[in-house]
């Protein structure tokens, strides 16, 4: 398989300005994403994990060019997506597509499946009507829909089938990278496996790179090659899947992994209970953002924020990472 780099992101940041108060408005900066760097090669899956509000979906919105980053940049197929002009952006749009979490909201209820699938072609290519129809029928077959579904409306489908339509739409333009924003978490567990298998089959067939966003660690373990764990807008641990799952070095990753349910009694780890709530990203704690909930906290954690550094084959941002090796 070809080892071409599809996307390189460098220190991506997204800050929002929020107004607070009813009458005397003060503005505060919300650091939704505070420095994420990664590369994904063709045919590989890069997973982003973390609890709600940690910046996973913000990352998805930046990579799909729905929003522009506050600072940092990323390259898709060697073209810089932040600094290049409108014309190059249009070409890049075709290369990055997205599959959303909620298959009920992501399909236009007034359009038939056929015209939903053909919309990307209509905008970006000059294929004729017949060619577009052929292409979308071929894609429907690929994702396991039958030709008679072509003229139906989205509300006639089940959640799993809708997600197949959403996947088909994302693949219509032959993208290099598909951002999957929790693509299976809205589906029944029985359907989740089908959807994941479909995604993996398509990855092999079309040599796709996935940016897979999830909070379900068992799903992530199944499909990823690399994992990035995020907490409060920052990556806390990042590396090969097995390195991280077998021997996590950040206390937050440890807590996440310990919280994954297991059927096998012996595989269960001792629960690590995190005390307290996730802090507000409007007012993050000083020093290490995780120190208030961390069992291994020492004085240095309160004072200085740990940098991401290389420890035992992965990037981790913890002052005490060596202790856990």
């Amino acid at each position: 398989m070809n080892e071409k780099t599809v996307i390189t992101a460098r220190d991506l940041k997204k800050y929002y300005t929020v107004k607070e108060g009813m009458f005397f408005k003060t503005s505060a900066t919300l650091k939704a994403l505070d420095g994420a760097s990664f590369t994904i090669t063709a045919g590989k899956t890069f997973s982003v994990v973390g609890e709600s509000g940690c910046g996973k979906s913000t990352l998805a919105r930046l990579i799909t060019m729905i929003e522009r980053p506050t600072s940092g940049d990323f390259e898709v197929d060697g073209i810089n997506a932040v600094t290049s002009g409108l014309h190059a952006m249009k070409a890049l749009r075709e290369k990055v597509q997205i599959v959303f979490q909620d298959p009920y909201g992501s399909l236009n209820p007034r359009k038939k499946v056929g015209s939903i699938l053909e919309e990307p072609l209509k905008i970006n290519t000059d294929l004729t009507k017949v060619q577009r129809r052929e292409k979308s029928l071929a894609m429907m077959e690929k994702v396991g829909l039958s030709p008679e579904h072509y003229a139906r409306y989205p509300h006639m489908f089940s959640g799993g089938q809708r997600q197949r339509i959403a996947v088909a739409r994302a693949l219509m333009l032959n993208p290099a990278l598909v951002v999957a924003d929790e693509p299976v978490s809205a589906l029944d567990v029985s359907v989740q496996a089908q959807a994941l298998n479909l995604l993996m089959d398509l990855q092999d067939e079309m040599n796709l790179a996935y940016l897979f966003i999830s909070h379900d660690l068992s799903v992530v373990r199944l499909i990823s090659d690399e994992v990035m764990v995020m907490y409060l807008g920052r990556p806390v641990e990042q590396g090969e899947k097995n390195t991280i799952f077998d021997n996590p070095l950040h206390p937050y990753t440890m807590a996440l992994l310990a919280a994954t349910p297991h059927v096998d009694k012996n595989a269960r780890k001792d629960r690590i209970r995190l005390s307290g709530e996730i802090p507000s990203p409007l007012n993050p704690p000083p020093g290490c953002t995780f120190h208030q909930r961390c069992a291994h906290m020492t004085d240095i954690c309160k004072e200085s924020a740990p940098e991401l550094r290389l420890v035992a084959d992965r990037m981790v941002s913890c002052h005490h990472a060596e202790k856990f090796c």
């Binding site: 799909t64 729905i66 749009r93 990055v96 007034r110 919309e119 905008i123 006639m156």
Partner: protein
């Protein structure tokens, strides 16, 4: 739309949308009666020259203020009697339906089209453009509608055409607000973002993606607005600012006959009844339409 159809997906072909619509619409008896009356009114308006026994302008000087056929002194010549200059009231009502429906159609078309464009653009683009458009609509809403219509007609000069323009301006804010509200609700949905990721431009987003999903409340508002337009046109006609005599417009007919209300009730009653029934029919049908199109009312 409903969860039940999602479960039966696959083999069973779903009912045609129009068939499904009719099923829900026909549950409301009032709406069906309203719809029948509207169809009746349209037929009367279209075939007015065949149905009307006389010309609406012809004056029969030997039969001034003749009562309807079933009253003492009525004749079979004039079914609903005659007015103060001897014109056949039935013929005038039949021709008047043309004007009323015409007013409704034109007012709704103008205000719906302008309202949709202003609403979609202001909801989608936002910023200063939205502020300007919405404050302008608030100003129109802040004035009593009939007073504003009167003022506009007074500036443009009294005629049916100017009355139509005035009414269209007065009802415009309802369409703008309604469209903007639905656009803002739809804008945050994932399918809109997906379309953006595919590269849709703003024009396509507004009119091909967002607008079709905002139509249901607009259709209902348009139906109800139809009756409002007829009523407002009649009110302007009554005040002498709409259709000018001898045009057989229902509101103007009421106004001209006001002085005979003691002596000859039929001159006033029949145009009034015609307005009442038409407005009622449109309101009932609009109500049924709202219920039929609202997914929350479906079982």
């Amino acid at each position: 739309m409903s969860e039940t159809t999602a479960i039966t997906q696959g083999n069973a072909a779903p009912p045609h949308p129009l068939k499904e619509f009719w099923k829900y619409f026909s549950e409301n008896k009032g709406a069906v009666i309203g719809l029948y009356f509207i169809i009746f009114a349209i037929i009367v308006a279209v075939f007015a020259n065949i149905l009307a026994p006389y010309s609406p302008f012809e004056q029969y000087r030997d039969a001034i203020l003749q009562p309807p056929i079933w009253m003492h002194g009525g004749s079979s010549k004039f079914f609903l009697g005659t007015d103060d200059v001897g014109r056949d009231i039935l013929s005038r009502l039949i021709y008047g339906s043309r004007l009323s429906l015409f007013v409704g159609v034109i007012v709704v078309t103008i205000s719906l089209a302008a309202g949709m464009i202003l609403g979609v653009t202001s909801g989608y683009l936002g910023g200063y453009y939205e502020v300007i458009v919405m404050r302008a609509m608030d100003i129109i809403l802040a004035l009593p509608s009939l007073l504003l219509a009167l003022a506009i007609v007074a500036i443009l000069g009294p005629s049916l055409k100017n009355a139509i323009i005035a009414i269209a301006i007065v009802v415009l804010p309802h369409y703008v607000r309604l469209t903007r509200a639905s656009v803002m609700a739809e804008k945050s949905k994932d399918y809109v973002t997906a379309s953006k990721v595919c590269g849709s431009g703003p024009f396509r987003m507004m009119f091909a993606v967002l607008l079709p999903n905002c139509m249901a409340p607009l259709i209902v508002q348009a139906t109800l607005g139809f009756s409002n337009a007829i009523l407002d046109a009649a009110a302007l006609g009554f005040l002498g600012m709409g259709a000018q005599p001898p045009t057989p417009e229902w509101g103007a007919m009421l106004a001209n006959a006001l002085q005979f209300i003691q002596r000859a009730w039929w001159v006033v009653t029949f145009p009034g009844l015609a307005i009442l029934l038409t407005v009622l029919a449109f309101n009932l049908a609009g109500d049924g339409l709202r219920d039929a199109l609202d997914p929350k009312m479906k079982r």
